[in-house]
């Protein structure tokens, strides 16, 4: 069986992941809408997942994929809880702009 990486090269996957990850970070920093921030986080997660899978193929080892599977489970839980929190914040504050979340002020 031909390894796909022979044709594409692991470097390209790394590059792609980096770009995706950076876009995620940029989104987190740039947007103030909590939902978009959340989406950016998902993008970052996916960037990492992608890298895992790429290296899993590269090493011919299933562990990377197993890890991605767990990370997806965690992500699902996280999104569920996170969005629930956002909803309750929205209910209380009437907005989900992260600038309003200043309860951490010392």
């Amino acid at each position: 069986m031909d390894n796909i990486l022979n044709q594409i090269g692991i470097e390209n996957y790394i590059f792609l992941s980096v770009v995706l990850f950076c876009i995620g970070i940029f989104g987190v920093l740039y947007r103030r809408n909590a939902i978009i921030v959340f989406m950016s986080i998902e993008i970052m997660l996916n960037a990492v997942n992608l890298l895992f899978v790429a290296f899993s193929t590269y090493h011919q080892d299933a562990q990377g994929q197993v890890f991605v599977f767990f990370s997806m489970a965690v992500a699902a839980a996280e999104v569920a809880v996170g969005l629930a929190i956002l909803v309750s914040i929205f209910r209380n504050l009437g907005s989900i702009s992260i600038d309003n979340l200043k309860n951490l002020k010392g």
Partner: protein
């Protein structure tokens, strides 16, 4: 170094990769930049699909399917529902002060530079990579691994999801005031 595809002699796989990568990056950007959260969500779905495409390209069918089910299905539905629940529209979002945006851009550039520098500086991979021909990522094999080697974490994952479900229900329940 970054392998620059030679478009003239590109194989099908390479073309597909480039295409998918292009879609992934573009939709990711659009997710962040579009004003309307609904649009963002839709771009994000497309992004997730393209990532699933990458998974398929890498021949990990199981993950591709799970990814589509979890991300493009469940998570995106959750996002959409939430957005609609809140009835957000673009006017609500006020742009951040310039200094913040500048900071965001600066740090974005910074992290890009750092990561890419690392990437460039790291040792290049020498030679071609041959697969051993062993099946390691078919659904069957993964299923065996998950339920043998990783059984306990697997069960914990289910507990995690259960807890998350309960937590979500508890959080989104309306608090009864004055009681």
């Amino acid at each position: 170094m970054i392998h620059i595809p030679d478009f003239a002699h590109a194989t099908t796989v390479q073309v597909i990769f480039c295409f998918l990568a292009f879609i992934t990056v573009i939709t990711a950007f659009l997710t962040i930049f579009s004003r309307n959260p609904i649009h963002s969500a839709i771009y994000l779905v497309i992004c997730f699909f393209s990532i699933a495409g990458h998974y398929l390209l890498l021949n990990s069918q199981f993950l591709a399917i799970v990814h589509i089910i979890v991300y493009s299905g469940a998570i995106m539905i959750l996002f959409l529902f939430t957005i609609m629940l809140m009835n957000l529209n673009e006017q609500r979002e006020v742009h951040r002060p310039r200094i913040t945006r500048l900071g965001a851009i600066v740090s974005f550039c910074l992290i890009c530079i750092v990561l890419i520098t690392i990437f460039i500086n790291s040792k290049p991979i020498v030679g071609e990579y041959d697969s051993s021909g062993e099946d390691f990522q078919s659904i069957k094999v993964l299923g065996k691994i998950l339920l043998n080697e990783y059984m306990v974490p697997f069960e914990f994952a289910s507990i995690l999801l259960l807890v998350a479900m309960i937590g979500t229900v508890l959080l989104s329940k309306k608090e009864k005031l004055n009681k």
